[in-house]
């Protein structure tokens, strides 16, 4: 890197690519991530899609964005305010401007800043000349025109040629970060192996964008960023999105239990990526059935579980609501089932593409009658892998449906992942029944383990073990239908005890950051992990009486959770809903909490959590003013 370049040494840099849905911004983002990963940076990403598939070009509601936080780490969120923005059109600039940091570098594609482009974005004045970009470092590049010139020799149609501009821009960004083009070139070569002209055009665009940065005339204007390498534990790494990790975790559950996975689903945002991922994992013993609706999907999964496969169904809130009755059937029939809920904004159709954590009530309380079941929640993309295995383990051990909560953010966000060693996972045991029970088969099939309340998993095809199951109440002893009053009381107690017994098999609640007692505990669950973790770390540099506790096991809670929370003066519960974990903590543990609720469809910013927690801390400690902590400080 030549010395004349400005070098920004940041522990991490937040970059945002924004453009029209058709601009290839998501691809640009994922390719940029693979290059940063290979260069040894830690990262976290957040794709921000428009709700409409083909929104009119150039409009603000058609803007698609991809945000990456990269650097030395540990990086756990996609970052608060981007320090660099690539805006492919005026609408992308308009939507992104409120989000980015003061002084951020903005690369705009000037080709699209025509009168028409500006007016489609709702700009009366060109923001480049009306002063609204003062205070930012504006870099104007004629990306589309330069791309078209570059790819002219390859004879593509005008629209195909225009589509190469994401790689042109990526080439420039790669240069700014001093990143090698190799991994991206490799991807282009593989992806377009059979389309020579497209392949060559994209390669040319990538290299041309890169060379553009190199050009002496521009070198002064364009900042070069040198992102420090992360200190990773030694080992083999890959990047992973939550959807991928979840799919692989489900496949791993099948491998560990030596049972097939039958995944039954009906498409819905943001749960569909899991369906798509699993459809490619046939070799791992995964079958995928796209059902006619969510009810059929859960029912088919239950049928598969009856048949001895691990039935899995997946949806987001509205679809999960439809599955409710059938989940009760699985509870009553004492069959294993995994229900994966990729939460999104609601109620009703709500904000399909935006993230929210508002199905906690639905998971824990949302069924007719007393119908308890275990609930686990994933906290990061890679964590989805372990959560899937954990859920399957519970389902098979206790013979119960288990809810897995994830969300739109986790499904699509990516991070580096130390590839797990499959040898360290214990096999998942299956409850068996000897083929010739001495007693009535119907009774033997419902004989439950005294510690887990799990019954043997007996499936059609097993000789001599014919029996009938169903949704009617059955006798606690004999397994035959029973309408006896006392028996229903006993069975209701048994179903509650079963779910409670899960707590005996899960780890104690740990503390993610900070001491195990103190003034304030920041308690969260699910995908807010990254933001809460960073916020508490920032505070912890100045004040060691704030801790972060992140709950994976939502139902039942870990046995020690009540004790642990009792050792803090105040419990702050940030959630992307109107206070659902807060309710649960009050309900199950009887603790008083201070909710902090955000339902804007966007993940928490680290800074807003810091601010909220510091106010609470000041309140607890009685100090008037609180220390000022701002983002961007070295961590």
């Amino acid at each position: 890197m030549s010395a004349q370049h400005q070098e920004l040494h940041e522990s991490s840099v937040v970059v945002r690519f924004a453009g029209d849905s058709g601009d290839g911004v998501q691809l640009m983002g994922t390719q940029f991530v693979s290059a940063t990963a290979l260069a040894g940076s830690d990262f976290a990403t957040f794709p921000d899609y428009p709700a409409e598939i083909r929104a009119p070009a150039g409009t603000t509601f058609g803007v698609s964005a991809y945000q990456i936080n990269l650097g030395a780490g540990p990086i756990t969120t996609a970052g608060d305010a981007p320090q660099m923005l690539v805006a492919f059109n005026p609408a992308a600039l308009k939507v992104s401007l409120p989000l980015i940091a003061d002084g951020a570098a903005i690369i705009v594609n000037t080709t699209s800043f025509t009168k028409r482009g500006l007016s489609k974005a709702g700009y009366d004045e060109d923001p480049r000349s009306d002063g609204s970009l003062d205070g930012y470092q504006l870099i104007e590049v004629d990306v589309t025109r330069l791309t078209l010139e570059t790819v002219k020799p390859f004879g593509l149609s005008k629209s195909d040629a225009g589509r190469c501009k994401n790689f042109w821009a990526l080439g420039l960004v790669q240069w700014m970060f001093g990143l090698s083009l190799e991994a991206i070139e490799h991807w282009i070569n593989t992806k377009f192996a059979r389309k020579e002209s497209v392949r060559e055009a994209n390669l040319a665009a990538l290299r041309a964008g890169n060379a553009y940065g190199e050009t002496a005339a521009l070198a002064a204007a364009v900042p070069q960023l040198d992102v420090r390498k992360a200190r990773f534990e030694p080992g083999e790494y890959r990047g992973v999105r939550g959807g991928e990790a979840l799919a692989l975790g489900l496949a791993a559950s099948g491998e560990l239990a030596d049972r097939p996975i039958v995944f039954c689903s009906y498409p819905i945002t943001p749960a569909s990526p899991l369906l798509h991922q699993l459809a490619r994992l046939g070799k791992l013993g995964v079958g995928v059935f796209q059902a006619e609706d969510e009810i059929a999907a859960v029912c088919a999964a239950i049928g598969a579980s009856f048949g001895g496969a691990i039935g899995v169904t997946s949806s987001s809130g509205p679809g999960i609501a439809l599955k409710t009755e059938a989940i009760g059937l699985a509870i009553n029939a004492e069959l294993p089932l995994l229900v994966i809920d990729s939460q999104r904004g609601g109620p009703s159709t709500g904000l399909p593409t935006k993230t929210e954590q508002s199905d906690l009530y639905q998971a824990v309380y949302g069924r007719n009658a007393d119908a308890p079941l275990p609930v686990v929640a994933a906290r990061s993309p890679s964590d989805c892998f372990d959560v899937a295995i954990e859920a399957a383990r519970i389902a098979l051990r206790h013979m119960t449906p288990v809810f897995v909560l994830t969300d739109g953010y986790l499904a699509n966000a990516a991070e580096p992942w130390l590839i797990p060693d499959m040898n360290v996972y214990e096999p998942i045991e299956v409850n068996k029944l000897a083929s010739k029970p001495a007693k009535d088969v119907q009774t033997a099939v419902f004989e439950r383990d005294p510690k887990t309340f799990g019954r043997p998993w007996v499936s059609p095809g097993m000789p001599g073990l014919m029996h009938r199951i169903g949704g009617l109440e059955k006798d606690i002893q004999t397994g035959h239908i029973s309408y006896e009053a006392e028996n229903h009381q006993a069975m209701s107690q048994l179903r509650a005890d079963k779910v409670r017994s899960v707590a005996q098999f899960i780890p104690d609640q740990d503390v993610a950051v900070g001491p195990a007692q103190g003034a304030v505990a920041v308690v969260g669950w699910g995908s807010t992990y990254g933001a809460l973790y960073q916020a508490v770390r920032r505070i912890a540099r100045l004040n060691d009486c704030v801790s972060h506790i992140h709950i994976r096991h939502i139902n039942p809670f870990p046995r020690n959770l009540g004790d642990l929370l009792g050792r803090f003066e105040r419990i702050v519960v940030p959630e992307m809903n109107m206070g659902q974990l807060s309710t649960l903590l009050r309900d199950k543990l009887g603790v008083q909490v201070v909710p902090f609720n955000k339902v804007t469809g966007q993940p928490f910013l680290i800074q807003e959590v810091v601010d909220f927690v510091l106010d609470q801390l000041a309140d607890v400690t009685g100090e008037e003013s609180r220390p000022r902590i701002v983002s961007g400080e070295p961590q």
Partner: protein, 331 residues
């Protein structure tokens, strides 16, 4: 091979809880006898039902059984079939279970041609919930929820199945032991999804609703038992036959002796003929019974396994799959 099983070996110890005289008893009896006759392997036979009087069926058959939730039996059965395609799966549903709340699943199971043998016990009423009119009830059916007579037009189960793309459609009457056994055997033999409508008498809430053709004194005159390749004749002495009237594009009844060469021959692969036969209603026309429609086609489970070529056998490891992407090593 174990000793020949009898109907009793296919009967559970459960006390049967249908009203005395209910048509379901006759169906159960014919079924257990049929299972014994074909020597069905009990461990590989499964009855799956929804909710309704009819849906209590699985409790009474000594095979595997699953009494699920209202309308969803075809979906549960689909998942089971995919998990274990070796199983013989019978779905038992009612006119409410299969054609109101569960009509969607019925349609999709039929269009997919998944090898489920679906028995729809049609009594034209909601029996279990005490007799409200159902989607197969005729207009004017008086019931607790339609004291002045129902006014919604009924659906024909057979035509619904045909429209859904069913490849096998048959019909039988609950108490017609031979007719029902024949239809069960054909459904059992058929490789693919089979839809069987059974006219079932609900003695309590809809007594004798099928009397006009099922009643002893009408059976001969108002039932045509169809057989592939044989003329469509009925009545005493096979004196009547069905003819296709090209002017009205409909079937008509003619004298089968005098106009023998005009009588249609049953072709079970002809969907148009199937439609005409399924649409016939007593007393104007005879009611078609037996295998009305049957064509060969690829089954869903076979296509499913073509798309899952490993048939759920793991041919790869998760450890490899985890690395099936760009990886890098930190030392």
């Amino acid at each position: 091979m174990s000793a020949q099983l009898t109907a009793r070996d296919y009967t559970t110890s459960q006390e049967v809880r249908w009203c005395p005289g209910c048509g379901d008893y006759a169906i159960l009896k014919t079924m257990t006898r049929f299972l014994a006759d074909v020597g069905a392997e009990r461990e590989n036979t499964v009855f799956i039902s929804g909710i309704g009087c009819s849906s209590r069926f699985p409790y009474y058959v000594e095979t595997y059984g699953f009494h699920t939730i209202h309308g969803r039996a075809p979906a549960v059965a689909t998942g089971l079939k995919l998990a274990n395609p070796e199983l013989d799966i019978w779905v038992v549903t009612g006119d409410g279970d299969g054609l109101s709340i569960g009509a969607n699943h019925l349609l999709h199971a039929l269009r997919r041609n998944i090898s489920l043998k679906i028995l729809l016990f049609n009594n034209e009423i909601y029996g279990l919930t005490k007799g409200q009119y159902s989607p197969t009830s005729r207009i004017g059916t008086k019931s607790p929820s339609s004291p002045g007579g129902s006014f919604d037009a009924p659906v024909s189960p057979g035509l619904y199945a045909l429209g859904s793309g069913a490849r096998f459609i048959a019909r039988a009457i609950d108490v017609d032991r031979n007719g029902l056994a024949g239809v069960l055997a054909a459904a059992h033999r058929y490789e693919g999804g089979a839809f069987v409508e059974i006219f079932q008498n609900c003695i309590v809430y809809n007594e004798d609703v099928f009397e006009s053709f099922a009643g002893r004194e009408h059976a001969v005159e108002r039932q045509v038992h169809v057989r592939h390749g044989e003329p469509l004749v009925f009545a005493a002495d096979n004196s009547k036959g069905l003819r296709f009237d090209t002017a009205t594009m409909a079937l008509e009844v003619i004298d089968a002796h005098e106009r023998a060469d005009e009588v249609l021959v049953h072709d079970e692969t002809n969907a148009t003929l199937a439609q005409l036969l399924l649409a016939m209603e007593a007393p104007e026309m005879p009611v078609a019974l037996g295998v009305v429609y049957r064509v060969e086609d690829e089954t869903f489970e076979s296509a499913f396994y073509d798309n899952h070529p490993t048939r759920f056998k793991r041919t790869g490891t998760v450890a490899d799959a985890l690395r099936n992407t760009n990886t890098w090593t930190v030392t």
